[in-house]
């Protein structure tokens, strides 16, 4: 017959919730754990006593083990019990256990109970790590106290204190496996609060080792007061989160999923919305980092504290480095423990020694560093010696990530660069950014280090060689470390970051030039990504503007490397060969531009011109056209002309063609033609001019990004009949473009009858160059030769016949010599690269020029 424990299942849940409310109003989450545990103690004792009264059983002792044993019982944690019995009467136990457990299970408690004799316990604890750790936390509940006393006397003496080293090794292995399991980036976003890295289990591991090694349950007694206070705050925070997690989910839920992050943040008093979640998770990461550091520190002490034999042996292997430092057993040590307090600048020297002698520091050294942190003040941060040492560490480039990680872990980095503490543990509430900002920043440095060390040589050869040809390695490392520093503040993190790094650079005593460089890289650290993934890399304009912004090859290289490190450090899946290809293409095209700057210079000042246009055009029109105007075009005309061109372009929406002219000096005129670009347009215009005996002296043809062709011609007509000839030209062109007449029909009717007097002049040797090297986007055709009427028509027609689309041309006449340059592509927008096509085109053009 089952008995009643005086409370129902729902009653128990209500009690828990009520208890949680009361406790959270006044005291710590630990208090809840204790009160909850007390309450469960009451229920378990009651069940045990009632069961004993109903079944005749031998005398036993009831012990709480595990987390319940520590009286740290989260709302839905397991209640682990151990029933100790005297060896002989084992078979009488099951009815007792059954009687005791059923009513507890009915209340929804996750109770498990093992029954063992004292000897079994000791034996199993020696071989099974989990049983051993469970026993450490054992707490007497009810029954035969003598059994409990006996077990723990033997356990402490024979098991716990005997094999400390082996115990620590076992736990270290367990920790390693556990952390490896939760290393997956998914757990960084939705961490497991108990089992994850820096989680509650990690803390217990540290505590068990202290218990075994220092024979005390006061884990804080072996730490600095500051340290243990911070650790306690971290622990309390995790408990607070876990309590809510259990209460909200109504079960033993330890994964802090997005769903619960959203619900718990406001309950714990964080501001509403994403911001509050990010703040809560930031605190979460800071807490787990502290716990993680704690457990590694303790493990380090337990595993590596040398025995006196070793100490004696290594005494003779000590080496002196300078008056403060020496090495022994492969680790750095201090001669005088107060060195850092006397001269804090030695802290930086310490890190340089770690790099130079490729050693680590032992835990005593780490303690000395932590103790000296309050001595890092503004004088330290501005000290030339300190900063030069720091920069020399970065310049050397070896193990930089390891050292920075250590600096950060010890709290040194945040003291030295206080701005860095603002991004510590800071997270983004999204799926893409896996790591908190500080971790991400140091990982980015690590990626850069791997690149320099040649680990990516096979996959990313170009990046590897770039990383080695950079002149100012220290600036690149520093930039990478600080590229997201603006994320600690509200607003656009790139531009805030720029100001911050310039300020930091000034404090470190960097030159003006280096400060500007860092500022540029930080403010532009997303620029390459935006251009490579969201812009058409086959559009020359895109590359020109990118190059214009990046300014020089050195900045381009650094930006490329920073971009690589940044993406690679976001998470294992962020960097793909797809992204690599696009970034590489952008890099190569831009680098070509810088290397061949001279050919491609007629751009620049594009932005200035757009600014100027705002005086004469409405914002609406500018935003419609600005992106379509090539820089090469912008550099050829005044703002008044461009304004006028845009007005023309707006009206060709309705009309097929606009032709305007200004007659100068009776025989010369400037003709502007505006129409929608089409294949062979230039040759049609040149042909119509030829028909009407207009001799082309100069021409500039431009094609805008939106398909508008804007061409300007300076023409000459010796007969002073300019106006009527121009009118006829316009009429012919309109008919030709609308397909009513064909150029070749008109030409065959009117045989050449030149209006300009022929003089006897020296022959000009012809020259045709077809160049594919100077532009990544166009084949450049250059034609030099003797001028004659109609020559431009013939050249452009030949280009059209050979499948060349003319995008830009500059035609000029110098005396009797013409110098024409054409930027052409084939019908698919590609360069003309097949050798036989180039040869054919060259032959045709040479023949034209050679003809009299």
């Amino acid at each position: 017959m089952q008995f009643d424990l005086g409370i129902t299942r729902n009653g128990l849940i209500d009690t828990k919730i009520l208890m949680a409310k009361e406790v959270s109003n006044q005291s710590s989450p630990r208090e809840f754990l204790r009160q909850h545990s007390d309450m469960v103690d009451g229920l378990v004792r009651k069940a045990f006593q009632k069961a004993q009264s109903q079944v005749s059983a031998p005398s036993v002792c009831l012990i709480a083990v595990g987390g319940y044993g520590r009286a740290e019982l989260a709302p839905y944690s397991d209640v682990d019990l151990l029933l100790l019995y005297s060896s002989s009467k084992k078979e009488e136990l099951p009815p007792l256990i059954e009687k005791m457990l059923y009513p507890l299970w009915d209340l929804g408690l996750e109770v498990s109970c093992s029954s063992r004799s004292i000897n079994e316990c000791l034996k199993m604890a020696q071989s099974d790590l989990q049983i051993k750790t469970g026993l450490i936390d054992g707490r007497y509940l009810d029954g035969e106290y003598e059994f409990f006393r006996k077990l723990y006397g033997l356990f402490t003496k024979k098991v716990l204190h005997r094999t400390v080293q082996k115990f620590a090794e076992g736990l270290a292995k367990d920790l390693y496996l556990r952390n490896q399991k939760y290393e997956d980036p998914a757990y960084a976003l939705e961490p497991n609060i108990k089992e994850g890295e820096g989680g509650l289990r990690n803390f217990q591991i540290g505590r068990w080792i202290i218990r075994a090694k220092y024979k005390t349950d006061r884990w804080d007694s072996i730490l600095f007061p500051d340290h243990s206070r911070m650790l306690d705050i971290s622990l309390q925070f995790l408990w607070a989160v876990r309590n809510q997690l259990h209460l909200l989910s109504g079960r033993r839920q330890d994964n802090l999923t997005f769903e619960f992050q959203e619900k718990i943040a406001p309950i714990l008093g964080f501001p509403p919305g994403t911001k509050g979640i990010e703040e809560m998770m930031r605190q979460y990461h800071l807490s787990t980092q502290r716990i993680s550091n704690f457990v590694y520190d303790i493990l380090e002490r337990a595993l590596h504290e040398p025995s006196w034999v070793k100490k004696f042996f290594f005494f003779f292997q000590r080496k002196k480095i300078d008056e403060n430092f020496g090495t022994a057993y492969g680790e750095l040590h201090l001669f005088d423990p107060v060195t850092f307090k006397r001269d804090p600048s030695q802290l930086m020297t310490l890190f340089r020694h770690c790099q130079t002698y490729r050693t680590n520091m032992d835990f005593r050294m780490e303690e000395a560093v932590v103790e000296a942190l309050p001595f890092i003040d503004d004088r330290f941060r501005q000290s030339e010696e300190v900063n030069q040492t720091f920069l020399s560490i970065l310049r050397k480039g070896e193990r930089v990530e390891t050292l920075l990680k250590k600096m950060h872990e010890l709290g040194f980095l945040s003291r030295y660069i206080p701005e860095f503490s603002e991004i510590a543990g800071k997270i983004h509430y999204d799926l893409y950014h896996v790591h908190p900002v500080d971790v991400h920043s140091i990982l980015a440095v690590e990626e850069l280090g791997k690149l320099r060390d040649g680990l990516y040589q096979k996959d990313y050869f170009l990046l590897t060689s770039l990383s080695r040809e950079i002149e100012k390695t220290e600036i690149l490392f520093l930039t990478t470390l600080l590229h997201d520093i603006g994320k600690g503040m509200d607003g656009d993190h790139s531009s805030i970051g720029e100001k911050m790094v310039k300020h930091i650079g000034e404090r470190m005593g960097l030159s003006m030039e280096d400060r500007e460089l860092i500022g540029f890289l930080v403010s532009h650290h997303l620029f390459m990504i935006q251009t490579a993934f969201r812009r058409d890399l086959h559009d020359e304009q895109v590359i020109l503007r990118f190059a214009n912004e990046v300014k020089n090859l050195n900045q381009l290289k650094m930006l490329y490397l920073l971009t690589f490190a940044d993406i690679k450090a976001v998470g294992p899946e962020a960097w793909t060969s797809w992204k690599n290809t696009l970034l590489m293409e952008l890099f190569l095209k831009t680098s070509h531009f810088f290397e061949k700057g001279a050919v491609a210079t007629p751009f620049l000042k594009g932005d200035e011109m757009i600014q100027k246009l705002q005086e004469s055009l409405s914002q609406e029109i500018i935003s419609e056209y600005a992106e379509h105007l090539p820089d090469r075009y912008l550099s050829c005309y005044s703002s008044a002309e461009i304004t006028h061109h845009i007005e023309m372009a707006r009206s060709i929406e309705k009309e097929l063609l606009l032709v305007e002219w200004e007659i100068e000096k009776e025989t010369q005129a400037k003709v502007t033609v505006c129409t929608k670009d089409r294949y062979g347009l230039f040759s049609k215009i040149a042909g119509s001019m030829f028909l009407n005996r207009l001799n082309i002296l100069e021409a500039q043809i431009h094609t805008w990004g939106n398909g508008v062709a804007l061409d300007t011609f300076w023409v000459e007509d010796a007969t002073k009949d300019m106006k009527s000839r121009l009118q006829q030209f316009k009429k012919d062109l309109v008919e030709m473009l609308s397909g009513k007449i064909f150029l070749k029909d008109l030409l065959s009717k009117r045989k050449v009858s030149n209006g300009i007097k022929q003089k006897v002049i020296p022959r000009v040797p012809e020259e045709v160059k077809i160049n594919n090297q100077d532009s990544d986007f166009y084949t450049i055709v250059e034609v030099i030769g003797e001028d004659r009427v109609g020559i431009l028509y013939e050249i452009t027609q030949a280009l059209t016949d050979h499948g060349c689309d003319i995008h830009f041309a500059r035609v000029s006449t110098l005396g009797n010599r013409i110098v024409d340059v054409f930027y052409v592509q084939d019908a698919w927008g590609e360069k003309i690269e097949e050798k036989n096509r180039i040869d054919q085109l060259k032959r045709t053009l040479s023949r034209l020029m050679g003809k009299d």
Binding site: F461, L462, S465, F533, R534, R535, D536, L537, H538, T576, S577, W578, K579, T581, L582, M584, E585, L588, K589, S591, H592, W828, G829, E830
Partner: protein, 112 residues
Amino acid sequence: MKKIEAIIKPFKLDEVKNALTKIGVQGMTVTEVRGFGRQKGHTEVYRGAEYTIDFVPKAKIELIVTDELVTQAIETIERAAKTGKIGDGKIFLSPVEEMIRIRTGERGRDAI
């Protein structure tokens, strides 16, 4: 129900996505892909070393639409993805036999 698969230029992805959302397409799958068609890869030179881009990066989108929406969706992709130059990509259309929403077990049109 039809499946539309389109290979487009990466920088056109946002434009295509927005255009499709506007006509009522509710979801799509996007993949980073590489390949070549008429637009062959090319070789770039930096400091004497050659870097071959033999497979051109593209974005692949996949979406399932009802028969009524097919024509409109294809036209939308065509318009938004077009630059008029080589390498603008391709659109493939194929029938879909069945579709199941795993969470609810809904089938056919309801699962879109």
